[in-house]
């Protein structure tokens, strides 16, 4: 048995979700699933490969340096995975939009029923995964010869690069499938930490009333070194872009501190943040479901509370 792990990487570094996927792979390896080979696919990905070889637990780095893999096109990367997979018993990828796009395509070609977004490894073929927006946890066993698994990053410890020196091997696959091309991207640029990697998140909901009012959250986020998130309602209303969305179908986060402002706490939102260590809710509706999961709730008008909170935080930080 052995594990093939598809890495998501950018700017020469492994993505935080990849480091958590390595955490899951190590748990799996300890349960007898064998060595861990990490696949770095992309163009000019030597720096990411250099980083990957240092991560504790990695026994081999496979590098597929080819322009066809540069933009993470599922048609091309899945073809590469399928070419490599027969040497492995497990194929793992982070359950990010990158992994979710590619992995099922590879699984189908391997005739394997993928297990999505695992949160626990029971043994080498048994996993726990949330269903119904996290309102139930299913323990499932996979009987397929090659088990394809995506990993929920918040459920596993991120394994940081260290002083390992795993061997690096160049591999190639079928290359460009000729089915799709990357035609551009509009990526959000922010000085703040990324939502899924942030220690503190300040999120706003429909109660914020406008995109302009999110500035008040940004000011508080900047005092705390936090990321800014949002509920689906705030994204649908156009207050902030889609990549701010926390929830069942958006980003799943588990920071040390999550501050929900003007968010009522729909099941779909709670699914994305209820694993946070400490939850604060600020909402004028005392009956809002968000208060049921909040460690500290303030019932009040957020436009009154936010300036006070900003002042108190500045005082506490000075």
């Amino acid at each position: 048995m052995a594990i093939l792990l598809l890495a998501e990487h950018a700017g020469g570094h492994l993505a935080p979700a990849t480091l958590a996927t390595i955490g899951a792979a190590r748990a799996l390896s300890e349960k007898g699933a064998g060595d861990i080979a990490i696949l770095i696919a992309g163009s000019d990905c030597a720096a990411a490969a250099e980083e990957a070889k240092t991560v504790p637990g990695i026994t081999k780095v496979l590098v597929a340096d080819d322009a066809a893999y540069g933009n993470g096109l599922a048609e091309n990367v899945a073809g590469l995975m399928v070419a490599l997979a027969p040497d492995y018993s497990h194929v793992l990828a982070p359950a990010t939009t990158f992994g979710k796009n590619i992995c099922p395509r590879a699984a189908a070609l391997l005739d394997s029923q993928q297990i999505s977004e695992i949160t626990e490894v029971i043994d080498s073929d048994t996993f726990v995964r949330p269903i119904y927006a996290g309102n139930a946890l299913a323990t499932v066993r996979c009987k397929d010869a090659i088990k394809v698994v995506t990993v929920r990053a918040t459920a596993f410890e991120k394994v940081q690069p260290g002083d390992g020196a795993a061997p690096v091997e160049n591999v190639s696959g079928p290359g460009d499938a000729g089915l799709s091309t990357h035609a551009g991207a509009e990526l959000s640029r922010s000085e703040r930490p990324e939502l899924t990697a942030a220690r503190v998140i300040v999120s706003g909901g429909r109660g914020m009333q406008s995109g302009d009012n999110f500035k008040q959250l940004e000011e508080i986020a900047d005092i705390l070194g936090a990321a800014v998130g949002a509920s689906r309602a705030a994204v649908d209303a156009g207050f902030v872009p889609n990549d701010f969305q926390v929830g069942q179908t958006g980003k799943i986060v588990a920071p040390e501190l999550y501050i929900a402002v003007g968010i009522s706490g729909a099941i779909q939102h709670l699914a994305g943040m209820k694993e946070s260590k400490v939850i604060v809710a600020i909402n004028k509706d005392e009956e809002a479901p968000i208060f049921q999961v909040a460690d500290y709730g303030i019932v009040g008008d957020l436009f009154q509370v936010l300036p006070e909170l900003k002042a108190e935080l500045e005082k506490a930080k000075s």
Partner: protein
């Protein structure tokens, strides 16, 4: 261009699901069911393509129990032309559904298959990608915009970092995200009209697909309950508690 839309019947998004006492699954008896919200967006997009003259026919397909026909009927009331029901009892796994859909897509000569990005019951997010793989087609997942121009589909995708646009060679599979459109409510006259639209039945055997489950569900349990509900009076008390009690700032 023929468009195939896959729909799934699930527990209504507004129902609080309950895990069965015996740990075999969640309670579905006497629970309100509805079309998976992402599937509604897929149906709406197909109907819009047809209204714009891009699509010539919209066929709605669902694999599931007899009652899945009601879900197909809902899609017909939104404007789809006809339905196909694949009777299946018990768990429906994405790989099996993808194989069924491949058979239907090939049989119907569809050039575009639209699906929701995930069903809100098992949250797998797999079927569309698997279908594209089995057909050997291109895929545009988590779409917030679709433009079809001759042999190419230009799809804007919602990704973790923002938005990405891909150009796909037709035929293709597209899965819908939340911001693609806002599904319409079916009007009463259209609900009446939908009753006369045809729904064919095709079994998994007819389609030559083995739907034996690959995964064994050992147990379904309630997640640990999170304690909460404590209140503080004001921002000063909050900051004090975050600093001195929780130690997170």
């Amino acid at each position: 261009m023929k468009v195939l839309v896959a729909v799934k019947r699930v527990i209504d998004a507004n129902v609080k699901v309950r895990v069965r006492q015996d740990g075999t699954g969640v309670e579905t008896a006497n629970v309100k069911m509805a079309m998976n919200p992402f599937c509604e967006i897929a149906v709406e997009e197909a109907v819009r393509l047809q209204e714009a003259g891009t699509a010539s026919e919209t066929i709605v397909v669902s694999a599931g129990p007899q009652a899945a026909q009601e879900t197909i009927r809902t899609a017909l009331a939104m404007g789809a032309d006809r339905g196909i029901h694949i009777p299946l009892d018990g768990p429906v796994e994405p790989l099996a559904v993808a194989k069924l859909l491949r058979a239907v897509a090939e049989k119907e000569g569809a050039e575009l298959v639209l699906l929701g990005k995930q069903a809100i019951d098992d949250d797998s997010n797999q079927t569309g990608q698997m279908l594209a793989a089995l057909l050997g087609w291109s895929q545009g997942t988590f779409a917030s915009k679709i433009e079809i121009n001759g042999g190419t589909a230009r799809v804007t995708r919602e990704i973790d970092g923002g938005l990405e646009t891909v150009e796909l060679k037709m035929p293709c599979v597209v899965t819908t995200d939340l911001r693609l459109n806002e599904p319409r409510y079916a009007s009463l006259p259209n609900i009446m009209k939908a009753k006369k639209k045809p729904i064919d039945s095709m079994t998994a055997d007819d389609l030559g697909v083995d739907v034996t489950p690959r995964l064994e569900i050992l147990k379904v349990a309630e997640p640990p309950v999170r304690g909460g509900g404590a209140k503080v009076e004001n921002a000063a008390e909050l900051v004090d508690k975050l600093k001195n009690q929780a130690g997170v700032i």
